[in-house]
C-alpha cells in the first residue's frame, strides 16, 4: 500500500504559458516590484487596496510637469492647448475602455467615492423623495453605503439591503422581492473587494429596468480585471478609481448616461463648469464639463490615459487567463491549510481571497507576513456589514493583479505556515 502511495507522483501544477503574456517581462515594467521589504523581495498582494504603477504611468506624471503643464480649457497659448488635448485624449480612452456612447458621458472625479457622492447629491437629491427606497447589497464598500445613508436620513427615504448567502453571493430572488414602486435607485458593487464575488450585474440591471429603476455600479474592483461594456450592460451609472487600475491616485471616473447627466443639477459650482456668469444668472457648461468645477487633477488624468494604454497592450483576455490560474492555484494552496477558512467562495470570483485562521488573528498574521516582505491587507476592508454577515471581526485578504505569480502564492503559503509555527 505504501509503495503504491509512493509511486503517485505529486506534482505542482505547471503553468501553461500564455502566448504573448510574459509575466516576468511585465514585472520589469513595475519598479516597485523589484524592491525588498524587511530584507525580502516584495510580494505585493494588496492590489484591491491600490495597484502598483508601471514606469510608463510614473513617467507620464513627470513628463507632464516637465514639458506639458498648463491650465486647461482656458488658454490660447501652446501649452494650454497641449495640456487640454492630453486631458481630453484620456476622456476618449476611458470612453473606449468601458465602451460608453459618448465622451459627454465621462466625468472625471477624484475616485469611486466621489463619483458615488456626486450621484447621491445630484441625481439622488433631485429624484428621491420621502418614503422612496434605495437598494444596495450586503457586500457594499462603505463608500456605496454611507452616501445613500446620508441621503436617506436627510430626505426620509429608506435603504434596502439585498442579503447574501454563505458563499458571499447575492440572493437574487430576495433582490427581485425588494424591487417595487417605491424603489428609485439600485446601487450595487460589480465586484466585491472583500469577498471577490462578481455579481450578476446584467440580471440585476434587467431586473431594475423592468421597474424603470436606474442602476449604479461600483466598478472599482471590476475594471482592473475584466472588460466592461456599459452599453451592453445598459447600466445607468458606473464608477471606478484610477489608482486601482494601475494609474495614479486622486483620479476617478463617473460614467452616466447622457440623458441622466443632462437632467442632473451641477455637483459643485465654480470655474470650468459654467458658460457665463452674471450676478443674476449662471448658464452651465455643456456635458461633461458641467460636472467638473475647478482645475482638475490634470497630470493624474493624463497618466490614467497611459495606464489605459498599458492595460490595452497586455489585453484583458491575457489578464483574465493569467488571473484565473492565479485564483485557482491560490484557492487550492490556501485550502490545504487545515485551520484556514475562506471567506467568500462565490462561483464567479475576481482574484481576491479573504480568509481567517483558527488561532491567529488577522492583524497578527498581517504583521507576520509583512516581516517576510509579503503585503496583504487585514481588517474589515471598509465592508463591516460583510464581516458581520460572516461573523468575523476581520479577515486577511490577498488580492492579485496580472503581475503576480504562482511563486508569490507559494511564498504566501510558506509565510502563513511560518506564522502557524510561531503561534504553536
Amino acid at each position: 500500500m505504501e509503495e503504491l502511495l509512493d509511486s503517485v507522483v505529486l506534482e505542482k501544477p505547471v503553468s501553461t504559458p500564455i502566448a504573448g503574456f510574459d509575466v516576468e517581462r511585465i514585472r520589469e515594467d513595475f519598479p516597485i516590484l523589484q524592491t525588498r521589504v524587511h530584507g525580502n523581495p516584495l510580494v505585493y498582494l494588496d492590489n484591491a487596496a491600490t495597484s502598483q504603477k508601471p514606469q510608463a504611468v510614473i513617467d507620464a506624471i513627470s513628463n507632464y510637469y516637465s514639458g506639458e503643464n498648463a491650465n486647461i480649457h482656458r488658454g490660447v497659448h501652446y501649452l494650454s492647448e497641449l495640456a487640454t488635448r492630453k486631458y481630453e485624449e484620456t476622456r476618449e480612452k476611458v470612453r473606449d475602455l468601458i465602451n460608453a456612447k459618448s465622451i459627454r458621458e465621462i466625468v472625471f472625479v477624484r475616485g469611486t467615492t466621489e463619483a458615488i457622492n456626486l450621484v447621491s447629491s445630484t441625481y439622488g437629491r433631485e429624484n428621491i423623495r420621502a418614503g422612496d427606497e434605495i437598494i444596495i447589497s450586503n457586500m457594499e464598500h462603505h463608500s456605496n453605503i454611507v452616501p445613500w445613508q446620508l441621503l436617506c436620513e436627510s430626505i426620509g427615504a429608506k435603504l434596502k439591503v439585498i442579503p447574501i448567502n454563505d458563499d458571499g453571493e447575492i440572493i437574487f430572488d430576495e433582490y427581485l422581492k425588494l424591487l417595487n414602486d417605491k424603489t428609485k435607485l439600485v446601487a450595487v458593487v460589480h465586484t466585491s473587494n472583500s469577498l471577490g464575488t462578481i455579481n450578476p450585474v446584467q440580471q440585476i440591471i434587467s431586473g431594475a429596468h423592468a421597474h424603470d429603476v436606474p442602476v449604479l455600479l461600483d466598478g472599482a474592483q471590476a475594471v482592473p480585471h475584466q472588460k466592461i461594456n456599459v452599453q451592453d450592460l445598459d447600466c445607468d451609472f458606473f464608477a471606478f478609481s484610477s489608482h486601482k487600475f494601475f494609474g495614479p491616485t486622486g483620479v476617478g471616473v463617473l460614467f452616466a448616461k447622457e440623458d441622466l447627466l443632462e437632467k442632473m443639477p451641477p455637483y459643485e459650482g465654480g470655474g470650468e463648469m459654467i458658460t457665463s456668469v452674471t450676478f443674476e444668472k449662471t448658464t452651465y457648461n455643456e456635458l461633461p464639463h458641467k460636472f467638473e468645477a475647478g482645475t482638475p487633477n490634470i497630470a493624474g488624468v493624463v497618466a490614467l490615459g497611459k495606464a489605459i494604454d498599458y492595460v490595452s497592450e497586455i489585453g484583458y483576455e491575457n489578464i483574465h487567463r493569467h488571473e484565473v490560474e492565479l485564483l485557482k492555484y491560490a484557492t487550492e494552496e490556501l485550502s490545504s491549510i487545515k485551520s484556514l477558512r475562506l471567506i467568500g467562495t462565490a462561483a464567479k470570483k475576481a482574484p481576491v481571497i479573504s480568509f481567517t485562521l483558527d488561532n491567529i488573528h488577522p492583524h497578527d498574521m498581517g504583521t507576520i507576513l509583512d516581516r517576510q516582505g509579503i503585503a496583504v491587507r487585514t481588517g474589515h476592508h471598509c465592508t463591516q456589514p460583510v464581516m458581520e454577515r460572516f461573523n468575523v471581526p476581520a479577515t486577511t485578504r490577498a488580492s492579485f493583479a496580472f503581475y503576480n505569480t504562482k511563486e508569490e502564492i507559494d511564498r504566501l503559503v510558506e509565510g502563513i505556515h511560518h506564522g502557524l509555527n510561531l503561534f504553536n
Binding site: 497578527d364 516581516r371 481588517g379 474589515h380 464581516m387 471581526p393
Partner: protein, 148 residues
C-alpha cells in the same frame, strides 16, 4: 524574522491562548469599551473600585494576540493598585512599548515583555488599547472609546 520572536514572546502567546481575568465582573463599579477600528480589536473592561483602589478587574473581548495579552497582563498587574498607581503604570508601559522613555523598569518584568512592540509602530495601539480603556473607565465610567 528575529524581531517576530521578539514581538511574539512565549509569555505573550500564553496570555493570548489562556488570558487571565477573562470574564465579566458582575459587581463592576466602572466599565468601558475600547475599540480599535483599524483591526477590529474590541475589549470590554470591568473594574470594581473602592476607596480609589482597584479591588477587582476583568475583561472580555476579541482581538489580536498583542491586545489580548496586553489586557490579560494589565488586569493582573492592576489588581490591588490605587488609581494613582494605575495611571503611573500606564505611563511606564507607554515608555516600554514606544521605547521613548528610559524609565526605571525594575519590578516591571511582566510589562517589559511588550518591549518588542516598539519595532512595530502600527501595533503600539494594540498593546495600548487595554490601558486606554482602563483610563477611560476610571475617568468616565461607561462610554466606548476608540484608539483612532
Amino acid at each position: 524574522m528575529e524581531d517576530l520572536r521578539e514581538l511574539y514572546q512565549e509569555v505573550i502567546l500564553d496570555h493570548n491562548r489562556n488570558p487571565k481575568n477573562f470574564k465579566k465582573l458582575e459587581n463592576a463599579s466602572h466599565t468601558s469599551e475600547g475599540y480599535n477600528p483599524l483591526c477590529g480589536d474590541r475589549i470590554n473592561l470591568y473594574l470594581q473600585i473602592e476607596d480609589d483602589r482597584i479591588k477587582d478587574i476583568s475583561f472580555v473581548g476579541s482581538g489580536c494576540a498583542i491586545s489580548k495579552a496586553s489586557s490579560s497582563v494589565m488586569t493582573g498587574e492592576l489588581k490591588g493598585k490605587s488609581l494613582a498607581e494605575a495611571k503611573e503604570l500606564f505611563k511606564k508601559f507607554q515608555g516600554i512599548i514606544t521605547g521613548k522613555t528610559e524609565a526605571d523598569l525594575t519590578g516591571l518584568d511582566k510589562l517589559s515583555v511588550f518591549a518588542g512592540v516598539r519595532e512595530f509602530p502600527v501595533r503600539v495601539k494594540c498593546a495600548a488599547l487595554a490601558w486606554h480603556t482602563m483610563l477611560e473607565a476610571i475617568e468616565n465610567g461607561t462610554e466606548a472609546i476608540s484608539t483612532e
